[in-house]
Amino acid sequence: MYSFEVERPTSVADAAAALGKDEAQALGGGQTLIPTLKQRLASPSVLVSLAGIADIKGVSVDGGTVTIGGGTTHGVVAAEAGAYPALAALAGNIGDPAVRNRGTIGGSLANNDPSACYPSAALASGATIVTNSREIAADDYFQGLFETALEEGEIVISVKFPIPEAASYQKFEQPASRFALVGVYVAKFADGVRVAVTGASEGGVYRWSEAEAALSGNFSADALDGLTVSGDDMISDLHGSGDYRAHLVKVMTKRAVAAAS
């Protein structure tokens, strides 16, 4: 990697100030950024580690909402977000233990990898991404591959997840990376069902609105029978064609509905 300065702020305000420096880059758990730096594919002048900010860590439950600090690791979410079982299960199946003990939800959502798990949970849950300057609805937050609504220097403080009546995340793993080749998160709320798909689309995580409509009327896997998914705008690579991913979207959605609890 190229040389860089490291800042280790202990407050959000100090972190925000540090991120104001020229070519500064926030560092969460580093599970994407550190390999990128090792490959010399990025050259920030300052890395601002968010790991020392206690205020952005932890899981809390308040009524129907689980709030997870942006600096909370996947391992902690898996262990402590039991109030939202589908979310805890998702976190517990990201990567391997080493990844789960370093990677953070804020880092994952800020990076918005098209194959990451968390974006589907946030989008399907209708979560709210709380930053140091505002609150952003998940529907407005995800803007394409590795693109989000975050501004330069904006930090994910927490993510507020409304707890659905039932939910499930079903991931079909890419054989090598074990990222989602296709992952589908289904969340059933009193006012309707939300379905978010990760791994599949060239546009990144998205809501499958036809499935949502069908499932809102009849929350059963059979309700999806008549739907078709087009492979046209799906990712096509060594691990599967767009048509294969489109097929898996339906299969995984059915499985998520069947497994939802």
Partner: protein, 787 residues
């Protein structure tokens, strides 16, 4: 009762203490005074003419000691190929130059263009980025068949075309084979690809070159399976360093799997640059670099035809293979698709007529060479897939078809030049039927189907030729080396023993197993014996470890040397006991006079050898140290029968290996635990090849799976617990231990069982799929079932 010591016992592997406690001594652990670091600037283009390399700005950067380009290697030899193939016309293969650093052209992504030696790796890398390289991109040659078309772009401009050789074996049988196929009652044809693999040993390659100006001596520490081979190739053919001025040391090595057999440019570079800079030069491959610089494995495209008579007897087999050589000829690349492949196509069957045609092709890809099994997995996959397909076409039981055609009388001379000394293929199949509970498959299938899953059953046999190899024979076949091995048994004054062996252990457990043999022969405790390996200045000239040869060849040398020790020790004991040599018996470390209670202990004899106060100095020399070289009379022929059961998710195409059983005949066995471990590892790699691993290039010669993000290595949860059995034993008839070798069997024997099971699963679901290429990834399976 299992034995608790000596041959047949399973003591825990003594080397694992250091491997598991972080106290191993790997090449990258070795750091020396004044050490510099080299970073190789590698081509990111598959094919291009080098127009200009400007190193001026880079050379002025911080920490740079010197920058090398191909021009610095004018007058230095290229990387040699160790095996010359003679083609169907009786001509030698086309053999291109393989410079240490690219000269004139780059020929694959990863081809080294320049090398920066600097005080630190970071400084070397910084300077490498400042080197200005002007390369005119040329069309990449990737597809083998397209590479052989008229007018195809040439990888090597000075060769006639991209064909390294066309080899036919046995060429005299060609017409007869074709005739038999034409007249057969049934012919089964299969076209398949044996997928390209990256070996991925846990430890990437490392080289540390040193030069001592005072005595003009070069030392190379390297991650090699065969340090003497590297010393010979690099010293004699590349750098012109006589053997006494060159030491090659391969200390602890973290896995080889074949890819650390070969002599690589980076080794020659570090040795050369250490002298040129008068500083030690170290290179440590990154994992990313390993993907584009370690020789790859397999990559054959094959059409195979099996002819059967009306009674389902195999009458002829023909194999037409395109074998990818990559951009240059790696050390043993040329031998893999020929002598290590064509000679195995009789497999376990008495097929009377066999013909193999191999076209070896240059492409703009990483060189391809031996990978665990090397040619034999390719042969086994072809034969066992086409036999399985034939059974399905004929509607006969695949096990019965195999049994019907088994070779049952030994020795057996195959129509492809080798003679199997011994074997019992029905015995391993009998074992397999038991340990795999083949009778219970139907019930297990029913259980799977209740869950909505398909279940498939696949079986195959294998035979391999290992214990490589009789030097005289391989010399006739084009090998440019002998393939004997050597051992020195050095008995110390107080009776402990150091055994210096030419074989190299990089995970095989020699340090545990070899002492078991010597301990058994002398009757002393294994803890009294240590193995020394991996250092050309310490061990006799041996050819190293590959081809499941270590115990069969080097172990035989060790036995011979130990026999010499025992003979001499008996003479000493006879003197001490005042008896005739011929009356001395050795048992449990005691020399005794037959028929008396007079005896003398091993330690008294060894002490007498080194403190010869009471010693027959007029008859024998003092000391107790013997060396033996052993050149095998034949290959050894391990064989076995393997079975795989898979579950297949018809909705996603995902295949899960539920059961895997292996019944092997390895001849006699020294350490059954180590043998089981070798089989486990080999099956893991075979399942990896069959379901997961794929080194795929795009049409521009870019490696699509150049990291673990896209190259799927098998992980613990991809494989089941294995049932392995090696109790079916027909000892090798021509080496003193009766051993055959077990290192490659798992990787050779497992891929066809997996694919046969996948086919069975798909057909059980009503899908008329007769073949699927490896890896049978979920998407491929889904595409195949979709039709």
């Amino acid at each position: 009762m299992p034995k608790d010591h000596g041959i047949g016992a399973s003591p825990k592997r003594r080397e694992d203490v250091r491997f598991l406690t972080g106290t191993g001594n790997y090449t990258d652990d070795i750091n020396v005074y004044g050490q510099t670091y080299v970073y190789f600037l590698r081509s990111d283009m598959a094919h291009g003419n080098i127009k200009n390399i400007d190193t001026a700005a880079a050379a002025a950067m911080s920490g740079v000691v010197r920058i090398f380009t191909g021009a610095d290697f004018e007058g230095v030899g290229g990387i040699p190929c160790g095996w010359q193939i003679t083609d169907v016309h009786g001509e030698p293969m086309q053999e291109p130059a393989h410079p240490v650093l690219a000269i004139g052209k780059v020929r694959h992504v990863g081809d080294p263009i320049a090398a920066v030696v600097a005080e630190s790796l970071e400084e070397a890398r910084n300077a490498a980025e400042a080197i200005e390289v002007d390369i005119e991109e040329l069309p990449a040659v990737v597809d083998m068949k397209a590479a052989l078309e008229d007018g195809a772009t040439k990888v090597h401009d000075d060769l006639a075309n991209n064909l390294c050789y066309e080899w036919g074996f046995v060429e005299d049988n060609r017409a007869a084979v074709d005739e038999a196929i034409k007249n057969a009652a049934h012919v089964t044809t299969l076209e398949l690809r044996n997928n390209r693999l990256v070996a991925n040993p846990m430890e990437p390659r490392v080289a540390l070159g040193q030069y001592n100006r005072a005595d003009d001596h070069s030392t190379l520490h390297t991650t090699s399976q065969n340090p003497h081979v590297i010393r010979l190739l690099m010293g004699a053919f590349v750098l012109g360093i006589p053997e006494h001025k060159l030491t090659v040391i391969a200390p602890d090595v973290g896995g080889g799997f074949g890819t650390k057999i070969f002599h690589y440019a980076e080794e020659a570079f570090c040795t050369f640059a250490a002298k040129a800079c008068n500083r030690p030069v170290k290179w440590t491959s990154s994992r990313s670099e390993a993907f584009i610089s370690d020789a790859h494995g397999r990559d054959h495209v094959t059409k195979i035809e099996l002819a059967l008579d009306a009674d389902n007897n195999f009458t002829a087999l023909r194999c037409d293979t395109y074998a990818n050589m990559g951009a240059y000829l790696s050390t043993f690349a040329s031998s893999v698709p020929t002598w290590l492949h064509g000679t195995l196509l009789a497999a376990n069957y008495k097929t009377p007529l066999v013909y193999t045609n191999v076209k070896a092709v240059f492409t703009n890809t990483v060189p391809v060479d031996a990978y665990r099994g090397a040619g034999r997995p390719e042969a086994t996959f072809q034969v066992e897939r086409v036999v399985d397909k034939a059974a399905r076409e004929l509607g006969v039981d695949p096990i019965a078809l195999r049994r019907q055609n088994f070779i049952t009388e030994f020795p057996y001379a195959t129509p492809v030049a080798v003679e199997y000394d011994t074997g019992d293929y029905n015995a391993t199949m009998d074992k397999l039927e038991v340990i795999a509970d083949i009778a219970g498959f139907k019930a297990r299938r029913a259980e799977s189907e209740k869950k909505g899953m398909l279940r498939g059953f696949g079986v195959n046999c294998y035979i391999e030729a290992c214990g490589i190899a009789p030097s005289n024979l391989v010399g006739q076949l084009g090998a440019r080396a002998g393939l004997y091995d050597a051992a020195t048994v050095r008995v110390n004054a107080t009776g402990s023993i150091s055994v210096m062996v030419g074989a190299h252990s990089h995970g095989q457990g020699h340090e545990t197993a070899f002492p078991q043999v010597v301990a058994e022969m002398i009757g002393i405790d294994e803890s009294q014996i240590d193995i020394v390996h991996g250092d050309t200045s310490k061990v006799p000239f041996g050819m190293g470890t590959y081809g499941s040869r270590s115990l069969a060849v080097c172990g035989s040398a060790m036995v011979r040397a130990t026999e010499k020790i025992i003979n001499k020790a008996k003479k000493i004991a006879a003197h001490l006991l005042e008896a005739a040599d011929s009356d001395i018996e050795l048992k449990d470390g005691q020399f005794s006079v037959a028929g008396t209670d007079k005896s003398v202990a091993w330690g008294d004899v060894t002490l007498a050898a080194y403190v010869p106060h009471n010693y027959p100095l007029e008859d024998i020399e003092p000391g107790l140290e013997e060396t033996a070289f052993y050149d095998p009379a034949n290959f050894t022929y391990p064989s076995g029968a393997y079975c795989c059961e898979v579950e297949l998710d018809p909705e996603t195409g995902k295949v899960t290996v539920e059961r895997f059983s292996a019944a092997d005949d390895f001849g006699n066995i020294v350490n059954p635990m180590i043998v089981s471990g070798q089989v486990h590892g080999g099956i893991g790699q075979g399942i990896g090849q069959a379901l997961l691993e794929n080194a795929a290039y795009d049409e521009n010669g870019q490696l699509l799976s150049a990291s673990y993000m896209d190259y799927a290595m098998p992980r613990a949860d991809d494989v089941p617990f294995y049932a392995v059995d090696h109790s079916a034993c027909t000892p090798c008839t021509h080496n003193p231990l009766g051993v055959k070798g077990c290192g490659e069997a798992g990787a050779i024997g497992s891929p066809p069982a997996v694919i046969n099971a996948v086919i069975d699963a798909m057909q059980s679901g009503g899908h008329n799929v007769t073949h699927i290429d490896m890896p049978a990834s979920p998407s491929r399976v889904w595409e195949a079932m979709k039709g």
